[in-house]
């Protein structure tokens, strides 16, 4: 089934221990869409500037991604620069030029109105809520947010959380959102704010999903998927968005949404995140095959499964 992602399309300058690359095609929606495209039909709503060429758009189109929702505005595309020299797990931002993204007003093309799965990438929570309300018929909504919105637009975010089925954030964000330093307690507080399930991404340690009692199945036992210990992380940019793309993309490709599907999806999220960091930018996500993905899924399984 189809999944729509709403979020940033960007150009990134990154500096990592493996080197420096400028003007890489990036942005949350880009990473998400590429990762999800190996599982299901993907649509994108975002905004780009005049520096976004046909060649850039073809990176998405070649993966069968529907780009009709990408608005071309006057001005420059969102640009971000960051480095990971001290810590591969956390970017140090050098600059953020929002450019055309500053006044982004998501417009959902008529052709997208039948979208069944929705992912609200990290944008202003009020914009997330507007999109969600416009697509009243979606079967399942996932979303992301960040410290900036948790601090600056907390009441708007709280409103939006009531419209999300699955929230995907990292440890720091979960603790900040819940104002609670114990992770499972933080998770239950966040679930009480609205989402049926909460995915907490632990970076190199994998991810844990917490469920509201009875959501998608029985009980509220969490589930944890590993991450692959990777010897050369060339560029961590987009790992979390690629995780979300694999996770949501796999869910959208299945007939049902139940706990067992969601658990497998969590593994697929880890798989797509692990591919993303192997090359700079979206390079590795452009040329994968489903066979490579399923082979790595088996590696993840063996990494953590007892006989």
């Amino acid at each position: 089934m189809s999944i729509l992602v709403v979020g940033s399309v960007a150009f990134d300058n990154v500096l990592t221990p493996s080197g420096k690359k400028d003007n890489l095609l990036g942005g949350a929606a880009t990473y998400f869409a590429l990762a999800a495209s190996y599982f299901t039909e993907v649509r994108v709503v975002g905004v780009v500037g005049e520096d976004f060429t046909t060649e850039h758009e073809n990176v998405l189109k070649q993966r069968g991604i529907d780009t009709r929702g990408i608005e071309h505005a006057q001005g420059k595309t969102f640009r971000w620069g960051g480095q990971y020299l001290d810590n591969l797990n956390e970017a140090k931002t050098d600059f953020t030029d929002l450019n055309v993204f500053e006044n982004f007003q998501p417009r959902i093309p008529a052709e997208y109105k039948n979208t069944e799965f929705l992912f609200l990438a990290n944008i202003h929570p009020t914009l997330q809520a507007t999109v969600r309300r416009e697509l009243a018929g979606v079967k399942l909504t996932g979303g992301d947010t960040m410290n900036y919105w948790i601090r600056g637009t907390n009441s708007e975010l709280r409103e939006t959380l009531r419209l999300m089925d699955i929230l995907t954030i990292n440890d720091t964000e979960a603790k900040m959102l819940a104002n609670e330093s114990n992770l499972p307690r933080a998770a239950h507080k966040v679930l009480a704010m609205g989402p049926k399930a909460l995915v907490i991404k632990h970076g190199e340690y994998g991810a844990t999903i917490f469920f509201r009692e009875g959501a998608f199945g029985v009980g509220r036992h969490p589930f944890r998927a590993p991450a692959l210990p990777i010897e050369e992380v060339k560029d961590p940019t987009g790992a979390g968005d690629s995780f979300a793309g694999g996770f949501m993309g796999y869910i959208a490709s299945q007939k049902d949404v139940n706990r067992e599907i969601i658990k497998r999806a969590l593994f697929y999220g880890g798989v797509m995140g692990s591919f993303a960091v192997e090359q700079f930018g979206t390079e590795r996500l452009q040329t994968l095959s489903r066979e490579e993905i399923d082979a790595r899924f088996q590696v993840f399984r063996e990494l953590t499964h007892l006989e």
Copy 2:
């Protein structure tokens, strides 16, 4: 089969968000021995002072632990005080009074010479090496160390690492020992120093074991066991030593030592660590049953296993 642990027996004063407790029976050898006692026959070599009473010794004896190797010296037992108010994952030390532990010279009783499994808890690497050489017939040697020895007695530690089969340390220690910030690369550097396998403990995220090519089986694929997301961590003291006790104790209880056994052992390590933190000091480890342990083993399995 029997396992011998050599290490500290101590009294701890701890302050955690759950409260303050003084004069708790603690020390690496104590936590290790109690955790391992649910799996196999355990022997302890350590030193205590005159403040260590029959009542304290009975905590170990009631679990069937052989305490004949605990030397009673004139003076006071090792005392440590620490707090976890800011961060449950890392103790802030208030004081360390080594007392009789300062001049600890491990003496192996004649009755212990047939010991098959050995665990060298966190003591001076030269003492670790001496014990290992004295027990030339052991089948498998595990060990621990810490930042203090990595920095202060690096060449002695390097010598000792060549005598260990399995080293169990945490992320920070592994990175410091290897002088390498990437975890799997650090792991391979540490394995090149001698151990056949390296367990890296990730605290609330579980643990990963890395193998030298061909050690205990085929290949050098790592394996990762989860930790349980715990809502109330009353006292994190001894979690790592309890992990090691469960891990090594399970291995010592089995006829063979192979990858599949070691993988299960890694899960049992996590299980014993998860019990340890539920109460202050060693309280929870004193009154467990093997049934409770195996039930939690199943919870760990379900936490991370796909159908």
